[in-house]
């Protein structure tokens, strides 16, 4: 392995970047700078301004209010390593460099104590996630501040490009974002400015949050895997996903209608997952919304994160009896039939146990009906009733 190792990149991710105009070189630049010993790796400057951006000049024309000062980070909010002026330097202390020093090769990883390697990997991940989170917070603050300052009277597209171009130092990324900004500018000419402001920008920011929450949830889960299951290379790839999830480019690529709900659901799930992994008490359920809708999640954005409150009824028992035998074993055939109903017939984003224990009877009854209509079940011979002994006449 080691810092010079070729990091596996998801093919779909690269294709997506290429389609969006981000050249592979920019992704390569990110990765080549990731976790090389003694180097300020995983350069946050690619997504963030090196320091707090000065507020734009006050705009007073056309009813526009003077802009508020940019939310420069307070020195007291920053870790000691970052309180000095100048660029954000990731990895101080740079635990990922330490990982590569300790485990420079695959053989070194293989021969090391698994717990220690996992700890070094997770320390690296935690450190860089913190840095990326910090960078993202500043990035979002800059965007929000610019948008608030501009209101609907200024050039929204120009603001995006301005903020992004200030934030991004990588020329390829700048070019890509300039293209994005141009498209938004074009959109502005086609749509009402208020609609553009209220919908596009809020959705963009919310989408970035949702995307980041989803990636974070996945990383948090994988951190419990051993190094063979979740290698350092995979961890770097996930960090790259996290970094890109907090950009306007990715937000535009994944933007769709239920973004606010997606953000809330993903963040709740991410919080619950993280809490359980760290031994903390999970947050209480936001019960009413998701509990009443099994699998009612934001499948398009967050897809696979389901959240519900416990519910167990006679319909639950009936479903459970189809799958779980009295001796505790499980009926594989019925399990397959039920899952076919869930996935293909009813097209639910749910798992069977979730429906049994965290759903409503309407859904359970639909599933029972689907099961009974399945050809394998319908064609099965009806069990012959045990004949009742005829009382003999004495």
């Amino acid at each position: 392995m080691g810092g010079r190792a070729v990091v596996r990149i998801k093919a779909s991710h690269l294709v997506r970047k290429a389609k969006l105009g981000l050249c592979a070189a920019s992704v390569g630049a990110l990765l080549s700078g990731c976790v090389i010993p003694d180097q300020p790796a995983f350069n946050a400057n690619l997504i963030m301004p090196p320091q707090a951006i000065s507020p734009p000049a006050a705009q007073t024309g056309s009813g526009g209010a003077p802009s508020a000062p940019a939310p420069a980070a307070s020195a007291s909010d920053l870790p000691a390593a970052r309180r000095s002026t100048g660029p954000v330097v990731l990895g101080e202390p740079f635990s990922c460099a330490q990982f590569d020093r300790l485990y420079p090769t695959e053989a070194a990883v293989g021969s090391a104590d698994n717990d220690q390697v996992m700890k070094a990997r997770n320390d690296c991940l935690t450190s860089l996630i913190e840095e990326i989170d910090y960078a993202y917070d500043r990035y979002e603050a800059v965007i929000n501040d610019r948008i608030a300052a501009i209101e609907t009277t200024a050039d929204l597209g120009g603001a995006i490009v301005d903020a992004a171009a200030t934030a991004f130092t990588n020329s390829a990324t700048k070019s890509a974002l300039t293209a994005v900004g141009s498209s938004v500018t074009g959109a502005k000419s086609a749509f009402n400015a208020d609609v553009l402001y209220q919908q596009t920008m809020k959705l963009l920011v919310t989408q970035m949050r949702a995307d980041r929450a989803k990636v974070l949830a996945e990383i948090n889960l994988k951190m419990s895997d051993d190094i063979q299951t979740y290698s350092m290379g995979q961890a770097r790839s996930d960090l790259n996903d996290l970094l890109h999830a907090g950009t306007l480019v990715d937000a535009l690529a994944t933007l769709s209608t239920n973004t606010n709900e997606a953000a809330a659901t993903c963040q709740n799930a991410a919080s619950a997952t993280k809490a359980t992994q760290t031994g903390q008490t999970a947050k209480s359920a936001p019960s009413s919304t998701s509990a009443s809708r099994p699998g009612a999640t934001t499948s398009e954005q967050c897809g696979a994160i389901l959240d519900s409150t416990y519910s167990y009824t006679p319909a639950s028992q009936e479903l459970e009896a189809l799958w779980r035998n009295p001796d505790g074993s499980f009926n594989e055939k019925n399990y397959d039939i039920l899952n076919n109903c869930i996935t293909n017939t009813l097209k639910l984003t749910a798992v069977l146990t979730g429906i049994i224990n965290g759903s409503d009877d309407a859904t359970r009854n639909k599933l029972l009906g689907c099961y009974k209509a399945d050809p394998q079940v319908a064609a099965a011979p009806t069990p012959t009733p045990t004949p009742t002994p005829t009382p003999t006449k004495g």
Partner: protein, 61 residues
């Protein structure tokens, strides 16, 4: 993609049963108390698709 199912306020008496069912479906389960008598169960599946019967059967202990 990881699939996660969270169920809140599971009565502690039901936790072993629910946990066993999730594990039979191929999930990794974590349980955290969320009240004096209830817990939150988080089941994490390795992919977006729920494991099919064979995988579930293999996990039955």
């Amino acid at each position: 993609m990881v699939q996660t199912q969270t169920i809140h306020q599971v009565p502690n008496s039901q936790v072993p049963r629910v946990q066993a069912e999730f594990e039979a479906e191929g999930a990794t389960v974590t349980v955290t108390p969320d009240g004096p008598n209830t817990s939150t169960i988080v089941a994490v599946f390795p992919s977006s698709a729920a494991p099919q019967g064979a995988a579930a059967a293999a996990l039955v202990k």
